[in-house]
Symmetry: C3
Subunit: 151 residues, 3 copies
């Protein structure tokens, strides 16, 4: 099944990515590496705001991480013109806007990691770092940066 | 206008970069990628210390981020011998020493991003992640790491 | 002296790395770059937990960072089959689970940096960013991500 058919079967439709909220590019390609800027979690077009472990529970944060992964796909689609050109997800940097008592950033990050593997199969597998940060732009609960390898 | 003329017109003179404060290299080049270590904000040679959103206001933090970008140029000049060899800024990682209530890391990061674009034009454009951290070495208010592509 | 003899002389024996605690790969190789996932500090197989500057003192955190570097070697040994294939450590990202008053992340990070240089000599030198984060998965006090260049 193609990646686009797979997305359709998951009821996910890609859309034009939002413009960055500040002075930077959504992605830069150098050779076959695609560096994708940190994307913050959004809900109905607005920042999905709140500290995980306080205003946002673990399961909601997992959904937020998954939604960021969808937005990363939107950006990668815009970058490549065809997601089949993605040879592998190389590395994710997953930032969780964490209350200092919250220690399950790895579970939150799985929301993005499992989604990418569901869509891309082996090509979706990646190295990763996940940790808790003090804040994220606009108070968003999750931010994810990605490096992908293109064919 | 050359990059050095541009810097002169902005009244910015490059200087020998400070030695790293610990056991690491200021940069490493692999192929055409230059990995520049995290540089902390300094003011008159000392750490520009304070938490943004508490001791340091947003506008001061923007200036601090701009000053880090100048220090990154000092290091890139030392690395390349000639800043004209910088083909593009690939990616910035902008860490803001944030009070947990401060959510404008993207505005702070613009202090560095806008400066790089002012100096380098299109070659200064980059992908980016910005977020708030719990602390930065020596209490500095901003730290920035950079990947650049060389010709 | 070979890297393995050097490790033996330091009474360090490599072991099979632990499986990742979540849905990600311990490393991904793209061309000659090896991207190693964030590894959290462990003590006797369990998370080395606590906030640095509160439950964990600076010197203990230095040891924790050194222990993460050993675990990174375990993973690089598994990735390469032979650590002599490591041409250079390119860049470390050192995250310290910091009390907001703790400002010596660079000293903590030296625990990893000095170890890598002791084992690999010049090939162990690297660029680096170190900073304090709000939390780390499972409450660990230190997490380190690494990029290495292979021959």
């Amino acid at each position: 099944m193609s990646i686009y058919d797979k997305l359709k079967s998951m009821n996910i439709s890609l859309s034009k990515p939002d413009a960055p909220a500040a002075v930077f590019l959504p992605y830069v390609q150098i050779g076959n590496l695609l560096f994708v800027s940190g994307h913050i979690a959004k809900k109905q077009g607005r920042p999905w705001a709140g500290k995980v472990g306080r205003e946002i529970g673990r399961e909601e944060a997992v959904l937020a991480a998954r939604s960021v992964a969808i937005d990363l796909l939107n950006t990668m689609h815009a970058a490549t013109g065809d997601l089949e050109r993605v040879k592998s997800m190389v590395k994710l940097l997953v930032l969780v806007n964490s209350d200092i008592s919250f220690t399950e950033q790895h579970i939150v990050a799985n929301g993005a990691s499992e989604f990418l593997i569901e869509v891309f199969g082996d090509a979706g597998k990646h190295a990763r770092s996940a940790f808790g940060v003090a804040q994220i732009p606009l108070g968003s609960c999750v931010e994810i940066e990605l490096i992908a390898e293109l064919r």
